[in-house]
């Protein structure tokens, strides 16, 4: 069961990376990173149990905290004029072919 | 306390740096860092004496035995380098207070001294340590402080030069890290002495070959050896003049030391020069470096640029001596390390004095300075003669040994090329002499006074050393030869 859950987390991570890459808006990327962060927390917790030494959950706590702080940071410092959403954002931010 | 000299050598400037941050007053900080650097110099003299009489000193940090803990291992080569670095640093620091007054804003003076001390610490740490990973850590201390120091230059080009140096330097350091990782993987140890014992067993593996390549490329990036020298001219030209004087005289020397240490001690002579075709490669690169850099030096308008290129050319001489892999060749390289530090230190300090008085350092600004600043310009000329290798200066001694080493091995054509290279030095030194003595000052330039004593004393200390060691060669040659012989395992 643990393995299955780990795999599900992995799949979710892959999908989050795809969303982070294709965007298209700033907030989609932030959302993807945030979700990736929570998935990492889960992955770490699961890995502890899978590998048989679950006592290192401190790392998961740090991940959760850092994830929160960096999301706040992203919002704080994307809140400038340069990052304001503009109608042509959707086109210009698409990944170059 | 005598037993703890090796660690005190590094620890004194290191601990002085945070204390400087607490002192806050620039003048006090200057005095304090001068004392710290002077103490380091005194210790290095004691260490050299000790090593020359009683052989290798090993100091186990933390009291842990060598391959498990970190070891400081001072042999003749290290002690010699420690002496050069701490000596030059002390002399240069003497002039620092006057020089930075005009080049660096007041509120950053304290930071300047702290970074200077940290940079000194880094270099001393690289030289003193006997642990491969510790080299990386101290390399980063010296590099990071160097980036910040260079960026303190007055012009905006300083920022760009510092950024380029940061990128190149970090790539170099990371290469060294990869190389150390690879040899660690093959031997399981990080201690240099232990490595030299264990590497021959695995010397034939492809991994060790790759490790060697990475370490050498990384060190050569730091060394600014010919094809990898691109960061150096701008970094030296736009840094504050004191920083240039310090780095030109020491930083590349430390990198040359690393090159020698890794090829001769860690990987061993037979691996470096028989398994790998290092000899032909380095000789060719050294020669190309001499010619390419000297030629570029001739076409520079900025005098600091000119001497920066000349530094690259001088590194070429050291590389040629090194590539011979004979005792005489290595002696020539080590001598040139010492001598080049003396002459470049003097020249760049004199240029700092010119900048202090004139403010600018284009060739045109030197016009007529021969009369207005006679002592400073005389110092530059003597330093320049030493660069060319005129008899009675130190430059002659090291060139002489290099030629001897080349002839000993029958490399006649290379010897001729070296002499030709020196002719190029004549050309670029002549351009300065011409500007300073034979051209009338520009109409719109105001007359200037001779440089203040705080410049003249360190400049002339170095110039006198230049001449003294050019005449009385016993001391320097004896130490260099002993160091070279110890690397080849020949007992005295």
């Amino acid at each position: 069961m643990l393995i299955a859950a780990t795999l599900a987390i992995f799949v979710a991570m892959i999908l989050a990376i795809i969303r982070g890459v294709i965007g298209p808006t700033l907030y989609d990327r932030i959302l993807a990173v945030n979700m990736f962060g929570t998935k990492t927390v889960l992955l770490i917790s699961l890995l502890g149990f899978v590998m048989g030494r679950p006592e290192f959950l401190d790392i998961a706590i740090v991940y959760a905290l850092i994830n929160f702080i960096s999301v706040i940071g992203v919002l704080r410092y994307s809140d400038t004029n340069q990052f304001k959403h503009s109608p042509n954002d959707n086109e210009s931010l698409k990944k170059e072919p | 306390m005598i037993a703890h000299l090796p660690i005190l050598q590094v620890i004194i400037p290191l601990m002085a740096a945070p204390i400087c941050l607490m002192l806050k007053r620039a003048q006090l900080v200057w005095l304090f860092s001068l004392i710290a650097s002077g103490l380091a110099f005194a210790i290095s003299i004691l260490l050299l004496q000790q090593v020359m009489t009683s052989g290798v000193i090993s100091y186990e940090l933390g009291g842990w035995q060598a391959p498990w803990g970190i070891e400081y291992r001072i042999d003749k080569l290290n002690a010699f380098l420690l002496l050069i670095v701490s000596g030059i640093s002390t002399v240069v620091l003497f002039a620092a207070q006057t020089s930075i007054e005009k080049e660096i804003p007041k509120n950053k003076h304290v930071y300047f001294y702290i970074l200077y001390l940290l940079s000194l610490t880094g270099m001393l740490g690289i030289v003193a340590t006997g642990d491969a990973f510790n080299v990386f850590v101290f390399l980063e201390i010296s590099s990071l402080s160097a980036y910040a120091l260079i960026a303190m230059g007055k012009n905006r080009q300083a920022l760009w030069a510092s950024y380029q140096y940061l990128i190149m330097g970090t790539i170099g350091a990371t290469f060294i890290l990869i190389g150390i990782g690879l040899i660690y993987q093959m031997t399981g140890t990080l201690n240099m002495y232990d490595l030299s014992q264990r590497l021959p067993e695995v010397a034939q593996t492809r991994t060790v070959f790759a490790a060697f390549a990475f370490v050498i490329v990384g060190v050569c990036l730091k060394l600014a050896m010919f094809p990898l020298h691109l960061w150096l001219p701008n970094a030296y030209a736009y840094a504050p003049s004191i920083v240039t004087a310090f780095f030109a005289a020491t930083a590349t020397k430390v990198a040359v030391y690393l090159l020698i240490r890794f090829t001769f001690s860690v990987f061993g002579l037979s691996f470096s020069f028989t398994t790998v075709p290092l000899q032909t490669l380095f000789m060719a690169l050294g020669l190309i470096g001499i010619f390419a850099a000297s030629t570029s030096a001739i076409y520079q308008r900025n005098v600091k640029h000119l001497f920066a290129y000349s530094s690259i050319a001088q590194i070429g001489y050291m590389i040629v001596g090194f590539s011979l892999s004979t005792v005489t060749g290595l002696t020539a390289t080590l001598l040139h390390l010492f001598n080049h530090a003396l002459m470049k230190g003097a020249i760049f300090l004199a240029l700092a004095a010119v900048i202090y008085r004139v403010g600018n350092i284009e060739l045109n600004n030197l016009r007529g300075l021969g009369r207005q600043m006679p002592l400073t310009m005389a110092a530059i000329v003597i330093g320049g003669l030493s660069l060319i290798g005129v008899p009675l200066t130190v430059g002659f001694v090291s060139k002489w040994y290099l030629l001897m080493a080349l002839i000993e091995q029958g490399w006649w054509p290379v010897a001729v090329l070296i002499l030709l290279g020196s002719m190029l030095a004549v050309v670029y030194v002549w351009r300065i002499v011409e500007a300073a003595y034979f051209k009338a000052p520009l109409d719109n330039s105001s007359p200037v006074k001779e440089a203040p004593m705080s410049f003249l004393i360190p400049i002339w200390t170095l110039i006198i050393a230049n001449i003294y060691f050019g005449i009385d060669t016993r001391l320097s040659v004896q130490v260099a030869e002993a160091a070279a012989q110890s690397l080849f395992g020949v007992s005295l």
Partner: protein, 131 residues
């Protein structure tokens, strides 16, 4: 054979992509990102050589016999600190360069520098002519 070295090869691919960013891209921030990727990949390389099959984290516990090698972990802890130090310093240089040059593209900065040099040379020639 292939599987045994696969990890190393992937790590090398990572390192090289970092190095590629540093060399090929002209944007100064992108270069720093590249350096960061490069260094992180070297960390991965070190850590993966510390792994022992069947070993666990090098924190002593009663019923465990096989531990992974702690030494590379220590080295990389130090190297991570060095990495963040370099990143911070590089980024502050980028900020200053942006203020001084108005751009963070290598090409435009070099262009400006060359232009300035040309101007200086012109001014000098004029001075010389006057003299």
């Amino acid at each position: 054979m292939l599987m045994d070295l696969f990890n190393h090869w992937v790590v090398i691919t990572l390192m090289m992509s970092g190095l590629y960013i540093v060399i090929a891209h002209g944007n100064l921030i992108k270069k720093i990102v590249g350096l960061s990727v490069f260094q992180t990949s070297v960390f991965i390389f070190y850590i993966s050589m510390a792994k022992v099959d069947g070993g666990t984290a090098p924190i002593l516990a009663d019923d465990i016999v096989q531990y992974s090698n702690p030494l590379p972990h220590v080295l990389i802890l130090t190297a991570i600190v060095v990495g963040i130090a370099t990143t911070a310093l590089g980024l502050s240089l980028v900020v200053r360069i942006k203020e001084a040059y108005g751009s963070i593209e290598e090409e435009s900065i070099q262009q400006q520098d060359n232009q300035q040099q040309d101007n200086n040379a012109h001014a000098k020639r004029k001075q010389e002519e006057e003299a």
